[in-house]
């Protein structure tokens, strides 16, 4: 069964450093998402991406964040200068673009980012 994959599973970085979180969505999916979950808190939407551009972003997704689909398979989230409060589990998700606008999103296993 196809699945969303994410690398690395755990990333430790120093405050102020850049990190890139990588995701490989399910191959025939057209919509891509990043969410994050700070320990003990609810899952929060960061950004959605469709047709090679951001379709929606939350107030969390400021200028320090960017997303990219550099090739036909990868979907990345970059944080330019990490802050302590960026420590969280980051989930990538993807969704089909076929009819049925409320198709479920499929989530990857997450990358745990720890900023020291």
């Amino acid at each position: 069964e196809p699945e969303v994959t994410q690398t690395p599973s755990h990333q430790v970085t120093q405050m102020g450093q850049e990190v890139i979180l990588r995701c490989v969505p399910i191959s025939n999916h057209l919509y891509f998402y990043w969410y994050r979950q700070i320990l003990g808190q609810k899952v929060e939407f960061l950004v959605s991406f469709y047709n090679n551009e951001i379709s929606e972003k939350s107030e969390i997704f400021d200028d320090q964040f960017s997303v990219e689909r550099p090739d036909g398979s990868n979907f990345t989230l970059k944080i330019r200068s990490t802050k302590l409060e960026d420590s969280a589990m980051y989930f990538c998700a993807s969704r089909q673009g076929t009819s049925g606008a409320y198709n479920e999103q499929f989530f990857g296993p997450g990358t745990r980012l720890t900023v020291l």
């Binding site: 998402y33 609810k42 379709s55 939350s58 969704r95 409320y102 479920e104 990857g108 997450g110």
Partner: protein, 113 residues
């Protein structure tokens, strides 16, 4: 603004007993509602969704959910819980077609043998 609430942080149930995980929603227009489960060190796995039609929705692993418009609820149920059902459960709603999911706070389910 759209919101989803899960009033219980944790639910404890004995194996073999019925399991209910509560979710209430506040959305404009027709509600569309999902349930996800998160096992330790795993991503969120889709269980079931309500889009339209029958108020009782059946999903994966023997779970079902009942949509109640008058009570604005979408409670997840399983007639006979298993120890392996112990996990974190999230109710979620897409804001609009294809758009972001708004999640409830999650409910931790502990099924004891």
């Amino acid at each position: 603004a759209q919101s989803v609430a899960q009033p219980e942080d944790q639910v404890n149930v004995a194996e073999g007993n019925p399991l209910t995980v509560k979710c209430t929603y506040s959305v404009s227009g027709n509600p569309y509602l999902f349930w996800y489960v998160q096992y330790p060190n795993r991503g969120l796995q889709f269980l079931l969704k309500y889009i339209t039609g029958d108020n009782l929705v059946k999903g994966s692993y023997g779970f079902e959910a009942e949509f109640n418009k008058s009570q604005t609820s979408f409670h997840l149920k399983k007639p006979s819980a298993l120890v392996s059902d112990s996990a974190l459960y999230f109710c979620a709603a897409p804001r609009a077609a294809g758009n972001k999911l708004t999640f409830g706070g999650g409910t931790r389910v502990l099924v004891k043998p």
